[in-house]
Amino acid sequence: MTISNRLSNAFSKPHPALVCFVTAGDGDTAANLDALVEGGADVIELGMPFTDPMADGPAIQQANIRSLGAGTTTADVLRMARKFRERHPHVPLVLMGYANPMIRRGPEWFANAAKEAGVDGVICVDIPPEEDDALGPQLRGAGIAPIRLATPTTDAKRLPKVLEGSGGFLYYVSVAGITGKQQAAQTSIDEAVARLKAATDLPIAVGFGVRTPEQAGEIAKVADGVVVGSALVELVGEHGADAPAKLREYTASLAKAVHSAAKASK
């Protein structure tokens, strides 16, 4: 199965997609990722730890500290991705993180290493379209989708710039803020998703501040996907080695809510 197929297949299912995030190297990553898949996650986002996660709230900051404290390296993250790909040949895998660890050895190196590890897409928080040259061409060259973020501050004039050269899906950050803090009003999400859908054929996944199955289910009524991160990362932080069972259970409750929502019309 080719790379772009895995992501587009995930968003072509008869139901909206559940996108689940955990930080690589925080707890038993292989077991945690398997639990997310078993619980019903349609897309996996694997966070690359960074010392300075500027866009993240306390939960994911702590996960980064735990992971780096345990000695996680870039090579480790890529190894986790490759092993995941071996175990789950059909589940799309997206790396999410910050620019510096991605470009440290050069953008070509990273794009090729990610491709070899079976990665389908990359979300780099601090490379906006204006700095696409830093990594975008290399990702596209390797057949990896550069997944961009749109936010409440991305106005209509700017949106085409965000969409140009992006792939996989469009990640709508539902609140102007950091991960895992406030939650957005449902009406503002409805409006934003409608606006984005009018501008692109890319699937729209909504994240930031989504914690409960109820919220996820509401968002799934309008969006193509729902991203949950901090709530899962908190389970890893709280339960350590026992996290996989908790993750499986919580993911299942999220998946039930998301998958039972009517698929949004294009």
């Binding site: 960074f50 010392t51 300075d52 996660p53 500027m54 866009a55 709230g57 306390p58 900051q61 500290i65 780096l68 390296t73 870039t74 910050y98 620019a99 510096n100 660890p101 991605m102 470009i103 440290r104 928080v125 601090d126 490379i127 906006p128 204006e130 700095e131 830093a134 961009r148 973020l149 749109a150 936010t151 409440p152 501050t153 991305t154 106005d155 700017r158 965000v162 950050v173 609140v175 102007a176 803020g177 950091i178 803090k181 406030q182």
Partner: protein, 404 residues
């Protein structure tokens, strides 16, 4: 701005790049804001009223122009080139930081922002920001690493007296870079009403450019004062570098004077051969942090490492992107001075000139000592005395083993 295509003074380009460095590496939420800020800054640059207000405040509130001073006894003690100082430690609040804060708060007001945030390491930029916020009646939140709050308690109290809220940052190692992360997190969550006054010539475009421009008053004055006093330009400019704003402020107006050499002085901490230093240019590698591409202290995986310096104002693991470019082009030479050497220079200036310098410019003074010895008496070195040392007497006492 020069029209000469070979000028060193026409950076950055329209995308905010200084050669390969600089740029706007920020989360999408902030991108429309930094674009707004750039638009507003261009409008302010073209507005004579903005410049008039800036100049007026610098003269009557900050106390500019700062004097140009020939340090005769220091010159004799070193025994070489003449040493002159640009006395920016005599500014209101005791350092160069206020120049930039005046400029940025005028921009904030122009943009209709009603809340100011800032990060601070040693507390000098925090105090300067709290000062201009009090002057203009705007609420002010200063993020400061918890470790720095402990080390710099007098400045914390100053900020509180000025009405600012000081938020100790416990994430990471609780130092300047963590305070900057927290500043960016606040900004991203309060984009509608908040202006982030960044304290050095770093961060996403247009910050490196506008901070440099506001600080360039140092070099513009010095250039004129040198002409007036000795009828020529100095042979060598020397300034300490943390993020690099005082150095750029001094250097930038001289960049196209080929006979003026320039030396930027990083903090070598316990020495460049170990990990305990803050010399991003001499001991780091290019990378991306806090909105710009520049030299960073980092490991092989791109994880940022902590800087160390006796001077809390210098222990930041990055450097303004224009310095990265000036280093690569060779226009400015960079060196580093250890904690020990800075401490010696600190005491030397106290005794020879009756001036207690901050530990930041003490690094510059130590570098001046080394260079002046190799130059003739008719050669002229101009160093930026960018801050006074009152804030550092506790650190110095501790290092000298003195009970206070």
């Amino acid at each position: 701005m020069s029209s000469n295509p070979n000028s060193f003074r026409n950076q950055p380009d329209e995308r905010g790049h200084f050669g390969d460095y600089g740029g706007r590496y920020v989360a999408e939420t902030l991108m429309p804001l930094v674009l707004d800020l750039e638009r507003e800054y261009r409008a302010a640059q073209a507005d004579p009223e903005f410049q008039r207000e800036f100049d007026d405040l610098l003269e009557h509130y900050v106390g500019r122009p700062s004097p140009l001073y020939f340090a005769e006894r220091l010159t004799d003690a070193i025994g070489g080139a003449q040493v002159w100082f640009k006395r920016d430690e005599l500014n209101h609040t005791g350092a160069h930081k206020i120049n930039n804060c005046i400029g940025q708060i005028l921009l904030a007001i122009r943009m209709g922002k009603t809340r100011i945030i800032a990060e601070t390491g040693a507390g000098q930029h925090g105090v300067a920001t709290a000062t201009v916020c009090a002057r203009f009646g705007l609420p002010c939140v200063v993020y400061m690493g918890a470790e720095d709050v402990r080390r710099q308690s007098p400045n914390v109290f100053r900020m509180k007296l000025l009405g600012a809220e000081v938020v100790p940052v416990t994430s990471g190692r609780g130092t300047l870079k963590d305070a900057m992360n927290e500043g960016l997190r606040d900004w991203v969550a309060n984009v509608h009403d908040t202006f982030y006054i960044i304290g050095t010539a770093a961060g996403p475009h247009p910050y490196p450019e506008l901070v440099r421009d506001f600080q360039s008053v140092i070099g513009k004055e010095a250039r004129q004062q040198m002409q007036d006093r000795i009828g020529r330009l100095p042979d060598l400019l020397v300034a300490a570098i943390g993020g690099g704003s005082n150095a750029l402020g001094l250097f930038h107006p001289f960049l196209d004077d080929p006979d003026v050499k320039m030396l930027g002085v990083e903090a070598a901490g316990h020495g460049l051969d170990g990990d305990e230093h803050a010399a991003s240019l001499l001991g780091g590698f290019p990378g991306v942090l806090h909105g710009n591409k520049t030299y960073l202290l980092q490991d092989d995986d791109g994880q940022i490492t902590e800087g160390h310096s006796i001077s809390a104002g210098l222990d930041y693991p990055g450097i303004g992107p224009e310095h990265a470019w000036l280093k690569d082009t060779g226009r400015v030479e960079y060196t580093a001075i250890t904690d020990e050497e800075a401490l010696e220079a600190f005491q030397l200036l106290c005794r020879t000139e009756g001036i207690i310098p901050a530990l930041e410019p003490s690094h510059a003074i130590a570098a001046v000592q080394k260079r002046a010895k190799e130059m003739d008496r008719d050669a002229v070195i101009l160093a930026n005395l960018c801050g006074r040392g009152d804030k550092d007497i506790f650190t110095v006492a501790e290092r000298l083993g003195v009970e206070m």
